[in-house]
């Protein structure tokens, strides 16, 4: 169990896009196991990580989130055999849109997360939060 998260207001705000059948159960499992992560992290559920639209990522970063994490299905996707490649394309396209806005590309992060990956999820969140906290605050381009 992680410790010392506490005061969510000061931690970077992270939006996680997660999938209903694969990563959501992993994130829920972190809850069942009472593994702590920062309360500034929230999740939106999609059926498949290939359905995340680049403009959602940009919207989140423009409207108050400090980072967006894509919990992708990887090889486990039940819908699309090339889900990995599709999800990478989405992240890359979002980053292309961030560049002219002067928003650091590191604010978008992606990793495969399985249905029992509770510990991995918390680790990803801790690492991402630390990485975001170290980024300089951008000024609009």
């Amino acid at each position: 169990m992680g410790a010392g998260h506490g005061a969510g207001a000061t931690s970077p705000r992270i939006l996680v896009f997660s999938t209903a059948n694969i990563s959501d159960p992993g994130i829920d499992l972190a809850g069942s196991q009472h593994r702590h992560y920062a309360s500034s992290i929230s999740t939106i559920t999609v059926p498949c990580s290939s359905s995340i639209q680049p403009r959602w990522i940009v919207y989140a970063l423009e409207h108050g989130f400090d980072g967006v994490f894509l919990a992708i299905d990887g090889d486990e996707c039940a819908y699309l055999p090339d889900c990995n490649a599709r999800s990478s394309r989405i992240a890359a396209q979002a980053q292309e849109r961030l560049r002219p806005l002067g928003i650091a590309l590191e604010r978008v992060r992606m990793a495969a997360l399985c249905s029992v990956c509770s510990e991995a999820f918390v680790k990803h969140m801790d690492e991402f939060a630390a990485q975001l906290a170290a980024l300089p605050v951008e000024v609009a381009a």
Binding site: D28, P47, R55, L61, A78, Y79
Partner: protein
């Protein structure tokens, strides 16, 4: 063809009538989240007409109150903030239906697994987050539209592909449910892998006998028709009414049939070592299936090429659990080998048997076989993952060189008469069938189910079920259990005569200018070009769309929305999570 409008609130200030229930879950939520503060924060939302906290949202009493409230206040949206959607979405969808509210205008918000339980050290933070999540749920519900499940009529018949133990048992079960069954088998005989086996663990019953029994059962049911040397070559239509084309031996006419479901039971192939892999190719080096066939073919003391066998080395995990190769464990081979060793010892207790293993996985009751093998003299030596044994022939002797990690660093040279490579299961080569059915494969090459625990035999292709070792390595009893699960699921799908499909599908909106990108990336052939008033646009067939949304990011006009997760809903959810304070916005 019409395009669905996704936003219902009119911009002139007319608001939705949403009811919000925030659950204590006993204390599971309210011990760590100030649920009253959450209620107060969202009650003033112009789309909310009622907000309350409740000790248990799922209790009968609260469900009853919800139904009354929805009817009395004329609610057009329901938000329940409690546990994970995995638990009670069916409960509150049923509440909505009972109250006359469209079930897709209810939104579940997870403030337990994803809030109270993970922020129990941070009450202000957990309360602020829960407030954001509930606001997001209200935003989602405020853009919800009534949806009806896509209803389809189904025909009471099934196609079983594969005549092995799983396919045969499935055919018998389906027929006993009252469904008519067509079973196709690619080869000229029934039985599959099990049909070629002699004594099997744990009871020593032979595979041949088991299959003969099942074939008799099949023959006794006139509603099962068996087509040998026949393959499925085409499938069209939708779930409940698939038209399939079956091609038999040359000279026969292809058969077409209408079936409600397909049960895919195409089995596995045995791993074939490369020449030279652990000495494979050297005389006296056999795979486990080759060795069991040899045992089966001749009773009495063991002979190989006319000479008595006095010693055997079994090398485990050949082709299994190897990075870059087959990374998985086939989980039947350890037990099968222990069983073989017991049989060999029973025939001639002077045979020395060495087992060079990585881990012994004779799980459950099969542990007894492992114990019996050891009692009968089998010697187990554990080799390290990164130091596999070496097999070579010196003169007329085979020599296995290995280090036993349990007894010390010394290298052991074991002279033996036979080496048995304990090989596992690999996916059967079924490229044509896989691409015809558009079945997803796992990284191991076997067919993938929707959910390993909750939906273990269904695939994302509605009405296409998987059974037996086509899904992954299985013992006979596991194969039969999965075949019967596929039978039960087929019954659940077909016995009503009518089935409902998930209506949360993709829709192409007014911005569509037909470029074909979406159709090209849809593996389910759900998208086609149609003309509306002389203009070409994309049409997404709701009964073929799986609702993955994979097409949406490819649309250059961003014209595709996935119902239930539309762009407008996602943006409302993000706004809700961030909250009304916008001063800290990163980039203005």
């Amino acid at each position: 063809m019409e395009h669905q409008e996704l936003t219902t609130p009119s911009p002139d200030g007319e608001h939705r009538r949403i009811g919000v229930y925030i659950c204590h879950c006993g204390g599971n939520i309210s011990d760590f989240v100030d649920v009253a503060a959450v209620r107060d924060a969202v009650a003033t939302d112009p789309n909310v007409v009622h907000a309350e906290t409740t000790l248990f949202a799922c209790s009968d009493a609260t469900q009853h109150d919800m139904v009354e409230r929805i009817q009395r206040d004329g609610l057009d949206g329901l938000v329940v903030a409690s546990c994970s959607p995995k638990l009670h979405v069916p409960t509150f969808r049923a509440v909505s239906r009972r109250a006359g509210l469209n079930q897709f205008q209810y939104t579940q918000v997870n403030i337990r697994e994803q809030c109270s339980w993970v922020h129990s050290d941070d009450r202000p933070g957990a309360t602020a987050k829960a407030t954001g999540l509930v606001r997001a749920g209200i935003g989602h519900a405020s853009l919800s539209v009534p949806l009806e499940p896509v209803g389809v009529d189904t025909v009471p018949s099934a196609l079983v592909v594969g005549g092995g133990v799983a396919g045969l048992r499935a055919a018998v079960g389906l027929a006993d449910l009252g469904l008519s069954v067509t079973l196709v088998e690619r080869t000229d005989h029934l039985g599959g892998a099990v049909g070629g086996l002699g004594a099997m663990f744990p009871s020593n019953q032979s595979g041949r006998e088991l299959i003969a029994q099942l074939v008799d059962e099949v023959a006794a049911r006139p509603t099962i028709s068996v087509l040998l040397e026949t393959e499925l070559v085409a499938k069209s239509g939708t779930f409940g009414n698939y038209e399939v084309r079956l091609e038999g031996p040359a000279g026969t006419d292809p058969v077409t049939a209408t079936v409600g479901v397909l049960v895919i039971a195409t089995g596995f192939a045995s791993y074939e070592p490369a020449l030279g892999e652990y000495g494979y190719g050297i005389e006296g080096v056999l795979t486990l299936p080759e060795f069991t066939a040899m045992l089966d073919a001749s009773p009495g003391p063991l002979h190989y090429r006319g000479r008595p066998v006095g010693s055997i080395a079994y090398v485990y995990c050949v082709g299994s659990r190897q990075p870059g190769g087959n990374e998985y464990c086939s989980k039947y081979c350890c037990t099968a080998t222990a069983h073989v060793a017991v049989q060999v010892a029973a025939r001639d207790d002077r045979v020395t048997q060495y087992h060079l293993y990585r881990d012994v996985r004779t799980y459950g009751v099969y542990e007894l076989l492992y114990e019996e093998a050891r009692k009968r003299g089998s010697v187990y030596l554990k080799y390290a993952d990164d130091a596999p044994p070496d097999v070579e022939r010196r003169g007329d002797q085979l020599v296995v060189t290995a280090r036993d990690t349990l007894t010390g660093p010394a290298e052991l040279e074991i002279p033996v008469d036979l080496v048995v490579l304990v090989t596992g299961m690999v996916a059967a080569p079924n490229h044509d069938l896989t691409s015809l059915l558009k079945l997803p494969l796992g990284s191991d090459g076997f067919y993938n189910e929707i959910h390993p625990k909750l939906r273990p035999v269904e695939t994302v292709v509605d009405g296409v079920l998987i059974a037996g070792a086509s899904q992954g390595p299985k013992t006979v009893s596991e194969s039969v259990a999965s075949a019967l699960a596929a039978v039960a699921q087929s019954g659940a799908m077909l016995l009503n005569g009518r089935a409902e499909l998930n209506p949360l599908v993709a829709v192409a909106g007014a911005a569509c200018a037909w470029c074909g990108e979406c159709a090209a990336v849809c593996p389910y052939d759900a998208i086609s070009r149609v003309e509306v008033d002389g203009v070409a646009v994309a049409h997404i067939d709701p009964s073929a769309c799986k609702g993955c949304g994979g097409c949406a990011p490819y649309c250059p006009n961003e014209a595709i929305d996935l119902l239930g997760v539309t762009t407008a809903q996602v943006e409302h959810m993000i706004d809700g999570m961030v909250g009304p304070v916008r001063e800290e916005v990163l980039v203005s």
